[in-house]
């Protein structure tokens, strides 16, 4: 093949990839749009009918060295507007005084729990129950196995048919449980349900409760607001409409307890235990020919702290991409498997081609074309055309998410917020997305070569907390 032919081939590949990728995302966004309209129109009527129906929920929250924030987090959980729930905090062998703080603040008392080990975990040292809040228990276990192992210990102690698992530093909407149990009530085949996670930086939180919504001043956090809108309102809502959702976020996920136990619980040997669990549920249930549903509700149910410095963001994104690779590889039998439906025939191949391998195409494409342009083998017009197409398609996709947000929840109170997010949707194409691709590529390389991934400390400013 001549060099010219090779270059043309690369150009077609690059353009075709972007057009197909964005067309799929756009298709998902339109699916989401119709789903969202239907959801929003039926919501008030459904709320009236279901308002008295409250499926009991166990809230499982692992905590490790969180003495500074644990009391506020627990108070926020206890304030949720829901009748039937229990809170199970799993102290994952914290080295600080997390347990002592909880004991003092909630008058914990050792409790002779007949603890059942349905999923094997690191040893449990003790179970405590609060004298002030009968629905609060603390499982104190030895450290090891990360969030997955701690969550499994919480699942062992959970008494209700569905459980929520999330992070201690996330802030839940007071009505989140009312919203998230609805798919379980409406369709008993539901085995998991995720909800929209939003960025809390720039908001005001008092006593663990979100008081005022705002946008962060930090540019990195601001870009993540757009990213989260795109991911949750566009992607996940679209996939859930065809039962192809492969990720239930670790920040907010509700699962059917017995189904998770039967699947063996969360795996401590993978990085993205939340995604791995969701993909595994798809695989195991479709292998058994069980009819099931992995649902998603678009309501903003959970607010999470976004990294505000590059180093922390890099660690987070590399971890996520590594987790994606592991989850897909460990459950590769789902791909094109009999009975696997949209999850195996659409979502899985999509995630491999357009999520897992996206950094290879994106970085590769830019490198080849950039080099060709730099050495004069490609005209400035051609180079600009490709860059413009990639950027404009990206902006269009982000704007679709903004539109979906405005058509549904319009969470951000001022018109200038929408303008700001639109500007960010344009600016993120100049550097941010490319850096993301490089980090993802590094994570992919690390996974392929078996490089160990170090968790390190996640720096959180949490200056929204008052």
């Amino acid at each position: 093949m001549s060099l010219r032919g090779f270059l043309e081939g690369i150009q077609w590949l690059f353009l075709g990839y972007f057009i197909v990728l964005n067309s799929i995302y756009l298709g998902l966004a339109f699916t989401a749009l119709f789903g969202l309209r239907r959801y929003m129109k039926g919501i008030s009527a459904a709320e009236r009918v279901y308002s008295h129906l409250q499926m009991p929920v166990s809230l499982v929250v692992p905590a490790y060295n969180e003495s500074a924030t644990i009391a506020t987090s627990i108070r926020a959980l206890l304030q949720l507007r829901y009748q039937h729930f229990e809170v199970i905090i799993v102290n994952d062998g914290s080295k600080d005084d997390t347990l002592a703080v909880m004991t003092r603040e909630f008058q914990l008392q050792p409790f002779p729990e007949a603890y059942r080990v349905q999923i094997k975990t690191k040893p449990v040292r003790g179970v405590y129950r609060s004298l002030t809040h009968p629905n609060l228990r603390v499982i104190d276990k030895e450290n090891g196995g990360g969030k997955a192992d701690a969550t499994n210990a919480g699942i062992n102690a959970a008494r209700h048919p569905i459980f929520y698992c999330g992070d201690a530093d996330s802030v839940l909407d007071p009505h989140s449980l009312e919203h998230v149990v609805r798919p379980f009530l409406e369709d008993p085949r539901t085995v998991a349900c995720g909800g929209t996670v939003r960025i809390i930086n720039g908001c005001v939180v008092r006593g663990g409760v979100l008081e005022k919504v705002g946008l962060p001043r930090n540019p990195l956090a601001l870009v993540q607001v757009v990213e989260y809108l795109r991911a949750f309102l566009g992607g996940r809502l679209g996939w859930s409409a065809i039962n192809g959702m492969l990720i239930v976020s670790g920040a907010f996920g509700v699962f059917h307890r017995d189904t998770v136990v039967a699947a063996g619980g969360f795996r401590a040997d993978v990085i993205g235990e939340d995604m791995e669990m969701t993909v595994r549920l798809h695989r195991k249930l479709s292998e058994r020919g069980v009819r099931y549903r992995v649902a998603f509700i678009p309501d903003p149910v959970c607010w999470t702290d976004a990294p505000e410095d590059l180093a922390t963001l890099a660690k987070q994104r590399k971890r996520w991409h590594r987790g994606l690779a592991e989850s897909l590889w460990e459950n590769r039998k789902l791909c094109f498997a009999k009975n696997s439906g949209s999850a195996g025939w659409l979502a899985f191949p999509f995630f491999v081609l357009f999520e897992l391998l996206s950094p290879v195409i994106e970085v590769g494409g830019f490198l080849v074309m950039g080099t060709a342009f730099a050495i004069g083998m490609m005209s400035g017009t051609s180079f600009l055309a490709f860059v413009a197409a990639a950027f404009a398609l990206g902006v269009m996709l982000s704007t679709t998410a903004l539109l979906l947000e405005e058509l549904s929840f319009h969470t951000y109170p001022k018109a200038r917020h929408v303008f700001a997010l639109f500007v960010v949707a344009i600016l993120e194409n100049f550097g941010y997305r490319q850096v993301m691709s490089v980090w993802k590529l590094d994570a992919l390389y690390g996974w392929l070569t078996g490089r160990r991934i170090l968790w390190g400390d996640m720096k959180r400013k949490a200056n929204w907390q008052q």
Binding site: E8, Q109, E186, S382, A385, A415
Partner: protein, 354 residues
């Protein structure tokens, strides 16, 4: 060598893609901002309508003979007012309800609701159905019956509620048919609906329905039947146990709604059922109905391999009629199964904490 591909089809396509995407993004931003303005306008309008009408509606509902001057009602205000009127109607009974209906008829809610019933929006359809139900409008019977069989569970459910409001007796056969055929109606809401219909009206149709349903349909309905009428629930459960004593799902559901202690001797054999739900629910039934004669059976269940069976059995032991602290101590002394001992310790600790 000329490798400049700037004029090729692929480049043209790239430019076109960029242009289309940029225009689409700009249009979507404009739409987002217009939608925002429209919603803000709607919110202000809603607040204005409620601000004007809520005091009047409340006055009419609570004051006999109140004839306040009514403001003009443009068509675009009507859905907001109807929503408010329905909410108030849900909260009042008797004369207040009649006065609210008189007002609604003066304002033309009946014609407006019939018009809204044809809307493609589920929310508007439901608003219309609720309005016609509250108005007890017999001329709406036929269209409400059509909505009763709607594929949308919520529309169908609200239609059932409206039909009950208009004529509960006449509505029962159609509703019972839906109860039998649908799995999508929320059970507790359905139970409330049947309570609203009146126990005397619903009792016999429900009994007949429960005893004639296919066995697979019975278990999810039984708990809600007990909500409507606990005694009827227990009677039906006893009958179902006689007829379908080998059906695990029916047995598990029936055990939860029994009220008659005399049936316990016939249930003891379920302690060796292979189904853990049955063993667990048997423990619950014994806790509600049993006395000291059931101690041995509960001690056996406290050694069960399933945590929930052990837990419910231990709780039941503490609740048995005639059980005393000394009695519990005596049981504890006789227990040799470590799981049973752990569970007894657990539930006693729970009880002491309240």
């Amino acid at each position: 060598m000329d490798l400049n591909t700037g004029s090729d089809l692929v480049v043209t396509l790239a430019w076109r893609s960029a242009q289309v995407a940029a225009i689409a993004a700009a249009l979507m931003l404009a739409t987002a901002l217009i939608v925002r303005r429209y919603l803000q306008w709607q919110e202000r309008l809603h607040a204005r309508v409620i601000g004007n009408w809520r005091p009047l509606l409340t006055q009419i509902a609570i004051e006999e003979g109140a004839t306040p001057e009514l403001p003009k009602l443009p068509a675009r205000h009507l859905p907001f007012l109807m929503e408010e009127w329905n909410a108030l109607h849900d909260a009042v009974r008797g004369e207040s309800s009649t006065r609210l209906n008189d007002l609604a008829l003066r304002l033309g809610f009946d014609a407006a609701a019939r018009h809204l019933m044809n809307s493609r929006e589920v929310g508007k359809q439901i608003l219309a159905i609720r309005t016609l139900g509250h108005l007890r409008d017999p001329t709406a019977w036929k269209s409400l019956q059509e909505q009763l069989v709607s594929v949308n569970a919520l529309v169908s459910f609200y239609a059932a509620a409206a039909l009950v409001q208009i004529d509960a007796q006449r509505a029962m056969p159609g509703i019972m048919l839906q109860v039998a055929e649908r799995e999508s109606w929320p059970g507790e809401a359905m139970a409330r609906l049947l309570v609203d219909a009146g126990a005397d009206v619903a009792r016999e149709p429900i009994r007949a329905l429960m005893l004639s349903l296919a066995p697979a349909k019975v278990p999810p309905l039984l708990p809600w039947l007990a909500h409507v009428d606990a005694v009827l629930g227990s009677e039906v459960a006893t009958e179902l146990l006689k007829r379908h004593g080998g059906d695990d799902h029916i047995v598990a559901a029936a055990l939860l709604v029994l009220l008659e202690p005399s049936v316990l001797p016939d249930l003891r054999h379920y302690a060796s059922s292979a189904d853990a739900d049955i063993r667990k629910n048997l423990a619950l039934a014994i806790g509600h109905l049993g006395d000291l004669a059931e101690t041995e059976l509960l001690m056996q269940l406290m050694g069960d391999r399933v945590w929930w069976v052990r837990y419910r059995a231990a709780q039941a032991l503490l609740k048995l009629r005639g059980m005393t602290a000394e009695g519990i101590e005596a049981v504890r002394a006789r227990l040799i199964d470590p799981y049973a001992l752990d569970m007894l310790k657990h539930v006693r600790a729970e009880e002491s904490l309240g």
